[in-house]
Symmetry: C2
Subunit: 445 residues, 2 copies
């Protein structure tokens, strides 16, 4: 190897260095932002059977009619196998795109299948939208807290996330207005508002009807695109589906949907509904990313929608999740120490719990796992280290009995922490972020 | 809308402009590089039944045992449905990753399943590798010509593609050495060499054994990573599988494989085998892009590999494609005008045809389609507009009879062009690129 070559990882390793990643000098700048999420680090621990995991966001699909799906896929292969197993279009299967329009109609959306792009789960939808819109240091406005998977995408594209406060009625319009004004005054380029209006992940709250109009009006006036992420919209417990933001603003809203929670995540079928010009760019981005989303997955979902009472199935899911939500809320009310606060979600998978002052959910996590209960600390849902006093609790996957047992274990851990605090003062002092300038509230109860 | 707001697309449209894309000022810089490929524009035309398409790269999967696959998927859902339809790991199914190592062993690769990352087709593998390594203006070395889908990815990540000459024995080592030296002298950062050593798409050629060692040695000395893309490796006609570059260089080669050509593309299952540290980054990138590749697709491929004689099936595919290759070569020899040149591929899907001097395959395409035959002009496979005298002919999908008919039609079009040229001089003079500085050869025969 010539001495004129720049020092390389391979040379370093050959020289006996203990450096673990010999490629570290070669990665793209964006790769610095790719780090394992707090959720991911948890998975290996939380998946042990003795741990009650209130951490994951896996839907409970044990109620699916396996016999119906098995027969549908058998017939799909027998009758249309050479199409279902072939390359498809980059935009996605036309029949499925029509069915997707039927699904969205439940939320008041009138759309044409030609404006729908099928994606590999709605995670890929967030990726593709960010890919076509965001240069490094472009601003993405996000609720505080926001979905950890979306924050990971924004970080991977080197965006600057600016959090906007929420309360029990969802995104706070005045905070949105202020955030836009502040960014503009700083000369920063806002690319879109990323929002989960229904049964928020992780906050559990839902944007009120009055605020929907106000948020749309603010974004329309400020000419800020809205990225409406709505995986849980059909999983409300108390009412008809809530009208989507997109239903009242076809031009300024890009809508993301998914079959992961209303059917099953293993096919990875999500979608984007976008204004026509944006849709064209998304198809090109999809072709570059995967050539085309899996034809088989799409035709499998399409067959399920055709051959099964999918709306009846969603009602069953709603009942199951409502029962689990009730189990969690009842357990929290029965057991949690007085100074803890939480909200009561009207749908979806998540409760946002804020601990008594002085406690730190992130610092407490190892002790919780030792006590055989897992959750996701609030910091995972902020781009800026905020959220340490809070945590996300998922009630989607464990049985009501396990949920109650999980809350019992968690209560024990919190009480131990409170006792420590009473004895030694504030625990581990990791709460500086909460006193920072512009720190949003984490109390959504 | 306040007059202080910057002029926006929406305002422009409201003012009655005919501008088609009102979002044009908001896209990321990378989105400028996303344009419809020449192949894509062709698809709508070439898919008409009266057109003989020698354009597409769709594998012919009519020989697959649909009854076996139908039963396997039925049983997969019945017996493991709640796993197969659930979220999976970002890295991919562990059982499938072991089977992938078995597949790669046929090419001399000894690898651990822990170093494999499953991707949504090997297209996504190219995307993820580029994502973690390439900043804008980083150089990617590519064969001349190269795979159009990979060029699209490199463009989407704003890389600079530097083409390296090929001949009938594949990549030319001295040209590689020169390209590296030139880039380094210019202070440009080379991120990797992207190469398709076997049955090249689109060039049809295979890197000779002697050159494999030489290419690896050059890259090792210059500390340039190799991205070995090998979707066709098991589809050779005349011999045992060719030893992969990765088999002799585990540290400096990232290997990409796919089940799209050896089984079926509709599941979109490909993979990356990478050095361990790189593999970790790829998993993070995959989680950001899709959370996880489809569990169902992976378990479907895994079941097929377990329950069917997949190696016997590949032998059948080889026979079928060899028959079609022969049909195409026979037809070319029987009909093409003397000054046309082509190579005889030893596997894969493609023949690279170079037209008589003065003819332009891109300019000729509309007349070919009128004559009901389609191909892909050579320019699609160059990042720099080169390649107009050549075209890619695919023999993978049409029957031997249709291939012969397609070549007959194509010959008629070429003869008409030659007659025009004889009458009026050089046709449509679009061949400036061929006389450019450093223009590589397109004659691979």
């Amino acid at each position: 190897m010539s001495s004129e070559n720049p020092p390389s990882g391979r040379q370093v390793r050959r020289a006996g260095s203990t450096r673990l990643d010999s490629y570290v000098d070669r990665y793209a700048a964006r790769t610095q932002g790719m780090t394992a999420s707090e959720i991911r680090a948890l998975f290996s621990v939380a998946s042990r059977p003795e741990v009650v995991s209130l951490a994951g966001g896996m839907p409970n699909i044990s109620g699916l009619p396996l016999d119906v799906v098995a027969q549908a896929l058998h017939d799909l292969v027998s009758e249309h196998g050479t199409t279902a197993m072939q390359y498809g279009s980059g935009q996605g299967d036309p029949v499925l795109r029509e069915q997707i329009c039927d699904v969205m109609r439940l939320e008041g959306i009138e759309a044409h299948p030609d404006d729908v792009v099928v994606t590999v789960g709605s995670q890929q939808a967030v990726d593709l939208v960010t890919r076509i819109f965001c240069d490094p240091h472009d601003v993405v406005l996000c609720e505080a807290p926001s979905y950890v998977g979306a924050l990971g995408v924004f970080r991977a594209y080197e965006c600057d996330v600016v959090h906007v406060e929420m309360d029990r009625d969802g995104l706070v319009p005045s905070a949105l207005r202020d955030a836009i004004a502040t960014c503009r005054a700083q000369g920063r380029r806002i690319k879109f508002l990323y929002t989960i209006p229904n049964f928020h992940n992780p906050a559990g709250v839902t944007l009120s009807a009055a605020r929907r109009a106000e948020v749309l009006e603010i974004c329309r006036e400020a000419d800020v695109l809205v990225l409406e992420d709505n995986p849980y919209g059909l999983l409300g417990f108390d009412q008809e589906p809530i009208r989507a933001l997109r239903a009242d603003e076809p031009d300024g809203v890009i809508y993301l949907g998914s079959f992961s929670k209303t059917f099953a995540p293993g096919f990875r079928v999500g979608w984007v509904l976008a204004p026509h010009a944006v849709r064209e760019k998304l198809v090109l981005a999809q072709e570059s990313a995967t050539l085309c989303p899996p034809a088989f997955s799409q035709m499998a979902v399409s067959a399920y929608l055709t051959q099964h009472d999918w709306q009846g199935q969603i009602k069953q899911f709603q009942e199951m999740y409502r029962e689990r939500r009730d189990a969690m809320i009842d357990a929290l009310e029965d057991m949690m120490p007085a100074a803890s606060r939480w909200n009561v979600p009207a749908g979806g998978f998540y409760v946002w719990l804020t601990l008594p002052d002085g406690l730190d959910a992130k610092a407490m996590l190892p002790r919780a796992v030792t006590a055989r209960v897992a959750y996701v600390p609030g910091t995972a849902f902020f781009a800026d280290g905020f959220g340490a006093q809070s945590m996300r609790l998922s009630y989607c996957y464990p049985t009501p009995e396990r949920i109650r047992e999980g809350v019992r274990r968690l209560t024990g851990v919190i009480e131990d922490e409170l006792e420590l605090r009473a004895t030694f003062g504030t625990v581990r002092g990791a709460l500086d972020h909460q006193r920072g300038y512009e720190a949003p509230n984490t109390d959504l109860s």
